[in-house]
Amino acid sequence: MPFTRINGKMVEAAVFPGQQLFSQRGAMIAYTGDVTFKPNLMGGQGGVMSMIGRRVANEDTPLMTVEGRGSVLFGHGGHHVHLIDLAGDTLYVEADRLLAFEGSLQQSTMFMGAQGGVMGIVRGQVTGQGLFTTKLTGHGSVAVMAHGGVIELPIAQGQPVHVDPQAYVAHRGDVRNKLSTALGWRDMIGRGSGEAFQLELSGQGTVYVQASEEKL
């Protein structure tokens, strides 16, 4: 894996010829060697339409392609960085939480409809933002940002996890999710947006939750 944790807010990535990295724009802290940073005209691997889709969907987090030979330090906005290794499974994460990930991962921008929509539903219904989220599949590592670090909560059969949509970071595995308005939570409508909603995640997998209700 090309990422090495330097401290809670910084990761180092080794860059080799032929092994692309993608990173969020402006996330480079420093680099040595012969490394180039190119804005991703094609909007990641999803093509131009995907990029335009993102712009329309306001999920506009331009990515940089990082290539060459050397070593790069990544960090952003004082947020904590969490490394996630994928071994053939799928990670669903909001695009603006992606700090960097390996080019070996298949990236797609997903329209989050009624099925499987996490932030899509939440954003659409609660905050009125875009309906797209990023899906990463394959073998490789992902560096994800979170406010205040993340805790990992396992999801197992018969043991669903309920998450505050504002604190939701990402999830992986075979997980179904639905937005619910829990009885009793109606009492809280009127104090803070989105507090009345919970995400219920069930199935088999892991959900990553940050120690804050603050969105990135």
Partner: protein, 320 residues
């Protein structure tokens, strides 16, 4: 003291680190366990714990309770707070004291009887309004908005640090304005305390650094600007510039360090508040950094406004 400087949280050295004959400074790290250090001086016996002391926490040893004697001597209490064993004058930025024991007076700089002493330490009157002198005896706790704090020992050395990051220094050090706007240089022998957003990471040149992530540097020559030409040239670059499609990489401009020394990085690109050093900050992260002062010019824009090419000054500079 060891070299390379100890790195918090078990950081691995970045890049190749050739052996260095002299050790100009070291980052004094807080103790791993955060156990209070006992000063070597005789002290009155500790009073018995009052009955209100919290009982141990589950699964832990319970919270550490400090008192006037058990607070660390010139060391970190935790990654975010630094305890000064005050015995004489000490300079600190306004508002960084969070608590103290003992008999300590704070006075503004530029007023009062100690002005003559100050002349040795402050060579830039512009800074004086931001600083106070603490005098007396006691333990003084410093902190800055829960940013990470580190102390540095200079031995007849010099270290240049971003003005907003410097918190406190001993009067044996002289504080001067760096030739790089927005930075201060400390010269001499003594200890100072600097804050950073996230732990400080030490790297050795050659390296190119995002301006906003730069905390400071020691010994090596002042950095120069580096612009990414390859990014700006060619058809794609032109399209990018004209349409804004594809955006800027956000990494067209770095500070380049060469030579022998150490570069201090903070692990975040979120800038700490700049302290005025009498210069206009022309660009975020690059205070007065050679950007032409033209109103409405691209160089004044924040580097990551979505949807804009953000080439700004660079595009003009390279004729795109």
């Amino acid at each position: 003291m060891s070299y390379p400087p100890q790195q918090p949280y078990g950081q691995s050295p970045y890049g190749q680190q050739p052996p260095h004959p002299q050790q100009p400074y070291s980052a004094q790290q807080y103790q791993q366990s955060y156990q209070p250090t006992q000063p070597g001086i005789p002290m009155p016996p500790m009073p018995p714990a009052p009955p209100t002391a919290p009982t141990p926490q589950p699964g832990g040893n319970g919270p550490v309770v400090y008192d006037a004697h058990s607070l660390p001597v010139n060391d970190n209490v935790n990654p975010y707070a630094f305890s000064v064993d005050l015995n004489g004058p000490y300079y600190l930025q306004k508002g960084k004291m969070i608590a103290y024991y003992g008999d300590i007076r704070f006075s503004g700089i530029g007023r009062g009887a100690i002005d003559r002493l100050l002349e040795q330490n402050f060579n830039s009157p512009l800074h004086a309004a931001d600083w106070v002198v603490a005098e007396g005896r006691g333990r003084l706790l410093l902190a800055d908005r829960a940013f990470d704090l580190n102390s540095y020992d200079l031995e007849n050395g010099n270290l240049t640090v971003r003005s907003g990051n410097l918190l406190a220094f001993e009067p044996t050090l002289a504080l001067k304005q760096s030739i790089i706007p927005g930075f201060l240089t400390l010269i001499g022998t003594g200890k100072f305390v600097a804050a950073s957003n996230g732990p400080v990471h030490f790297v050795e040149p050659p390296i190119r650094v995002d301006p906003q992530a730069l905390v400071g540097w020691a010994d090596c020559p002042a950095p120069c600007h580096h612009y990414d030409h390859s990014y700006l040239h060619g058809v794609i670059g032109g399209i990018r510039h004209l349409t804004g499609l594809g955006g800027a990489s956000g990494e067209e401009h770095q500070f380049e360090f060469i030579g022998a020394g150490q570069v201090l990085l903070q692990s975040s690109e979120k800038l700490m508040a700049e302290r005025s050093v009498g210069q206009v900050d022309a660009e975020e992260g690059v205070p007065g950094g050679g950007v032409p002062q033209q109103p409405g010019h691209g160089g004044q824009q924040l580097p990551n406004i979505p949807g804009l090419g953000n080439l700004g000054d660079l595009g003009r500079r390279f004729g795109l």
